[in-house]
Symmetry: C2
Subunit: 208 residues, 2 copies
């Protein structure tokens, strides 16, 4: 499941592990945190599978990522200005011992397989959020299929929750009842949201 995120990010830009982790937690931190303990093994797996490839080690890679940091030569003062500039625009300063990864042709193939695979894990929600974050790489009809499959899953989950709530209401205490109720409402909201996504898709409003 992490592979999908890694490949999705590498599809856009070559990155090293640390930066990869920062982008993952920045963009999707609310939904899923990523730890180094899973990131680095995942990168190793992908490399072993030929899906990614180390393109740079120990070098600042002058070609694309680093836009030639000017490095003002003044010695005294303006530490505040320097700090502000560093905080505002930070183009990934080069450092020693980093491994920059790039996606391979095989990796592109794996990426698409992962995007369309039925989530093997029981954690459907996280998987769908991840897929949504990268579904722009899918052709429109497959994207639509992804949305509708997700919608069907949510409808089924809602139905199960409703029958469960009806048949077990007497046995459940108020807290569990409230939990199930709220879960059902959340699922309803998810379905409505998916409906809006599907409608947008049918209209043809496909973004970049």
């Amino acid at each position: 499941m992490l592979e999908l995120a890694i490949l999705g990010l590498l599809k856009e830009q070559e990155l090293h592990g640390y930066e990869l982790k920062k982008r993952l937690t920045d963009a999707l931190g609310a939904f899923s945190s990523v730890s180094f303990g899973s990131l680095y093994p995942a990168l190793a797996r992908l490399e072993a599978a030929g899906a990614v490839q180390v393109v740079t080690t120990q070098a600042p890679a002058p070609a694309l990522p680093a836009p030639a940091v000017p490095m003002t030569g003044s010695i005294a003062g303006e530490a505040a200005a320097f700090r502000a500039r560093r905080a505002a625009a930070r183009p990934t300063r080069p450092s020693r011992t980093r491994k920059v990864y790039a996606i391979t042709a095989r990796g592109e193939q794996v990426f698409e397989e992962l995007l369309e695979a039925d989530s093997t894990s029981g954690d459907d929600d996280r998987a769908f959020n991840l897929k949504l974050a990268f579904c722009r790489h899918l052709p429109p009809e497959r994207r639509l299929g992804l949305f509708e499959k997700r919608r069907a899953l949510l409808v089924e989950r809602l139905a199960k929750a409703r029958t469960s709530h009806r048949t077990l209401k007497e046995r459940m205490d108020l807290y569990t009842q409230s939990l199930v109720d709220h879960g059902a409402e959340t699922t309803e909201a998810d379905i409505s949201w998916l409906d809006s996504l599907i409608a947008l898709e049918r209209k043809g409003g496909t973004p970049s």
Copy 2:
């Protein structure tokens, strides 16, 4: 995290592993699925820690296996109810090789510790749902503390999502933007729900 659920169920009734799994997936299946691959090791851990205890093996199981347990289980499944009905209608003859577990005094202690522990895992949501399903065993003021701690976490998450959405909007495509938006709305709804739970708690409407 599974320990909490196991102890919570065993607090109400002595059960064997298979039945334990069925009740878990029946009642909380919408939120978290439980597999044997985690259930049996968890039971072994709990037994090693002295939190549970095997009370019956090779159960002869006459009419009433559990002595003086009034079956007030609030967490029970539709299928479990069906089985109970069928068992009442026909004389149950199961079964060989099953291990019925009971909670110990030490287990009760562990249960309360788990209920109040800050979730060590990154999976806060599942953990809170589980805690809510068993929080009736907590004294009211601790229950309130649990709710308010959860509320604070959600507020923080919402704030982070909002700033993230503001600062990274340009980088994100429409799908990811929609995902973050919907996540924020869901979190808002969660906070409102928690507010209603807190209000109910302050009013003193403590159930069973």
